[in-house]
Amino acid sequence: MRRFALLIAAALAVATPTRAEEVVAGLSQDNIGITASFDGSEILIYGAVKRYAPEPATGPLEIIVTLEGPVGPVTIRRKSREMGIWVNTDAVEVGAAPSFYAVATSGPMHLILDPVIDVRERISIPLAVRAFAGPIEVSDVRPFTEALLRIRKDEGLYQLDEGAVHIVEGTLFRADFELPANLTEGDYKTRIFLLRDGNVIDQHRAAIYVRKVGLERWLFALSRDYAPIYGALSLALAVFSGWAAAAVFRLIRS
């Protein structure tokens, strides 16, 4: 806790005044190593609101924090019944969907965020998934994007937690995020929005680097860069274990 306070104090000291209210923030960790025993992780995003004038008398202070994983294309396929069996028939490609996206807010989204701002900043989950690519062969893409959001929500990859940002005394805030175990590596972007009356007063961005480390890193790199060696290694391991097991059991028997 003392470290936490020191960090905030240090952050406050370096920031230069530009607006009436500014957000200063920190992350509990900006590096996440995926090791063999990786089982999900927790990220704490905390900060404070810095003021150069008394707190304005307008609408209450609200905060939205987002955490976005690496973005990539996704193909969504739909099954339909053909000759009595269920087959993938239609497909829609979403050009850029984050592999992970979490939003935490200090209040109900529709009350604290102006929809126009939402569209501009792409804050809410449906807006964070963007850009259709390739020819669209189906008449209505909506069921497909809805399915993408639904499936990823069920897998814990897209999260919306209204009321998860706690504001203390109108200045200090914190938001906790749960990162799932099936995390993909890459740079995770965090954004913190300071809002009043639905408008963004200030925002802050930071990155979290999620990387495989140690054995995981080595194996992954080997499988991509030296595929034949990796394949041979997998085989050698399999043959050795098979032989070793047979040998051990023969010893036990005799």
Binding site: K79, S223, Y230, L237, A238, V239, S241, A245, A246
Partner: protein
């Protein structure tokens, strides 16, 4: 205890994987099948991406068949020349299968083809085996002697005849080569060793004696799945060595227990058990195709 798999990029329970491997290894030792036809669908079920499940399944089959084939060599139950002929066909089939697999993955129809192949092959083979085994048991009960094993069918009229001493056969090279090719294709597409189709084909089509069938099929499966693993590792980088290791550790132990157990059971009992298991998997997958799925949509990372 969870373990994060570097290629599959998911975190799975360690003991679940060991248990899966053990169960499949037991079947491998017991019936002389790779057990891939169970492990691949089970891996799908616990959330491993399909391509990783198929490729890693092939790697696991290598380990369990090394273990099994060594035990069979000790019993002199491997017909090496026959195994080599089946293997040559198998390698050709595996290459073809990988090509089809990558094509179908692109088209988004791999799940369907895999499921359909399971239903058709497992279903028909399971029923055939069950029928045959029950008939044989009834004959045993009545005390009637079995007829001549070598009934002369079209298979014995083909050219390029070769003598296979361990099997006591004098047949053409063409049928075993074709059996090898078909098994190789299935190995690559379905992530299976192909024992469930090769064992009946060897008994009923080639007329090999039951005592060398398991050892010889394991011999062929060993090399074909090694080749398949290599191809998957090179063409789509989907072999997860950590996942394979967990399955293998469970699998090799299971295989040893299974092969001891197999030596005690009667061949006919083994066949009925295997037939029932094969039919159960086929029925389950068939129902999945016929019943309206809960989620009609599915996601694939990457573009069309």
């Amino acid at each position: 205890m969870q373990i994060y798999l570097p290629i599959a990029e998911v975190s799975v329970n360690l003991f679940l994987l060991l248990g899966l491997g053990g169960m499949v290894g037991l079947l491998s030792g017991l019936f002389g099948v790779g057990g891939g036809f169970l492990i691949t669908p089970l891996l799908f079920f616990i959330g491993i991406p399909p391509t990783v499940a198929v490729a890693t399944g092939a790697n696991q089959v290598v380990a369990s068949s090394v273990s099994g084939v060594l035990a069979q060599f000790k019993r002199k139950a491997v017909d090496v020349p026959m195994g080599i002929v089946l293997l040559i066909g198998g390698l050709v089939g595996s290459g073809l299968g990988i090509w089809v697999f990558n094509l179908l993955t692109e088209l988004g129809q791999i799940d369907l083809v895999v499921q359909l192949s399971y239903v058709v092959f497992l279903g028909s083979i399971g029923l055939l085996m069950l029928q045959e085994a029950i008939r044989a048991m009834q004959r045993d009960k009545k005390g009637v002697k079995r007829g001549k094993r070598h009934t002369h069918i079209w298979v014995h009229k083909l050219p390029f005849k070769v003598k296979f001493r361990a099997s006591g056969l004098y047949i053409s090279l063409i049928p075993p080569l074709l059996v090898g090719v078909i098994v190789g294709i299935l190995a690559a597409i379905m992530g299976v060793g192909g024992g469930f189709i090769m064992v009946p084909a060897m008994i009923y089509l080639l007329g090999m004696p039951t005592k060398v069938v398991i050892g010889t099929s394991l011999f062929q499966i060993l090399f074909v799945s090694a080749f398949t693993t290599m191809l998957h590792a090179i063409t789509n980088q989907s072999v997860d060595v950590l996942l394979a290791l967990m399955l293998i550790v469970g699998g090799v132990i299971g295989a040893q227990i299974g092969s001891r157990l197999g030596a005690r059971l009667k061949a006919e009992q083994l066949r009925i058990l295997l037939a029932l298991l094969v039919i159960a998997v086929a029925v389950k997958l068939g129902l999945d195709l016929l019943i309206r799925p809960k989620e009609l949509f599915s996601l694939f990372a990457g573009g069309l």
